[in-house]
């Protein structure tokens, strides 16, 4: 690795670590300290409005319905998620956020909004576009790697 590559590598790992830790700390110090970051992301996967099926939500989150069921059990017990059978097809289970779940969702969303606002505030229009293009390129690249390893894992199973 040359110096430039080392810097890119260090910055990428640093950003990844610090965003995770900041999110965790913000959650643990806030009103919803009984939620983990993973649980908060499950609430995001369910969404604010429509009652969604388990399989739809699992697909959104990129996890199995078995893993989601365990997470939802915990979130129902904590009062963030409501679970009910579909009125037209009793085999289908629908999940939605309770008022407490919606409140946690909105507060967490505000945290992300503030984070992004502060990040882009000092940038002019041109710099914002460069940032967006760079992040999109990073996201595409990381997405491809994720897809490649995920597919390989599924083929091994």
């Amino acid at each position: 690795m040359n110096d430039y590559e080392k810097k890119v590598n260090t910055l990428l790992l640093d950003i990844y670590d610090k965003i995770l830790v900041t999110e965790e700390k913000a959650l643990s110090k806030g009103t919803f300290s009984d939620l983990s970051v993973a649980e908060m992301h499950t609430l995001e996967g369910i969404g604010l409005y429509e009652a969604r099926t388990m399989s739809e939500t699992a697909a959104t989150l990129g996890i199995t319905t078995g893993t989601l069921t365990v997470a939802i059990d915990r979130l129902v017990r904590k009062g963030y998620v409501a679970r009910r059978r579909d009125s037209e097809d009793r085999r289908v289970v629908r999940i939605s956020l309770t008022k407490k779940g919606k409140l946690a969702y909105r507060m967490h969303n505000k945290f992300h909004t503030l984070l992004v606002d502060r990040l882009i505030h000092p940038l002019d229009e041109k710099q914002r576009q460069v940032l967006l293009d760079t992040l999109m390129a990073i996201s595409d690249f990381v997405g491809e790697q994720y897809h490649r390893y995920n597919t390989a894992d599924q083929q091994e199973e």
């Binding site: 008022k99 919606k102 909105r106 507060m107 505000k110």
Partner: protein, 94 residues
């Protein structure tokens, strides 16, 4: 334009929701009451109010729309407009 009766019902519901969730007296609240400056509502309280009103009127209110709502009158006008847009006859009170 909505009739005065509908607006009055919406205003009654908005005021009772804000009073209940902020711990303020209904009598203290007027259409011109500012959510931030007069009531010092923080984000948590504001979101609680929004979630209750969304659920009651079957509305969706985005974060950007919430930021633009500064007084009780603005909330009432917003709900009235949304209800007319959706062609819903009103609220559970109606």
């Amino acid at each position: 334009m909505a009739d005065n009766q509908t607006m009055a019902k919406i205003q009654k519901k908005v005021i009772s929701t804000i009073a209940e969730l902020s711990g303020k007296d209904k009598e203290e609240l007027t259409p011109d009451t500012s959510l931030m400056h007069d009531l010092n509502l923080d984000s948590l309280a504001l979101f609680e109010i929004v979630i209750e009103l969304e659920s009651y009127y079957h509305l969706r209110i985005s974060d950007e729309e919430i930021e633009a709502l500064r007084t009780i009158k603005e909330i009432v006008d917003f709900i009235d407009e949304q209800l007319r847009h959706k062609k819903l006859p009103g609220s559970k009170e109606a």
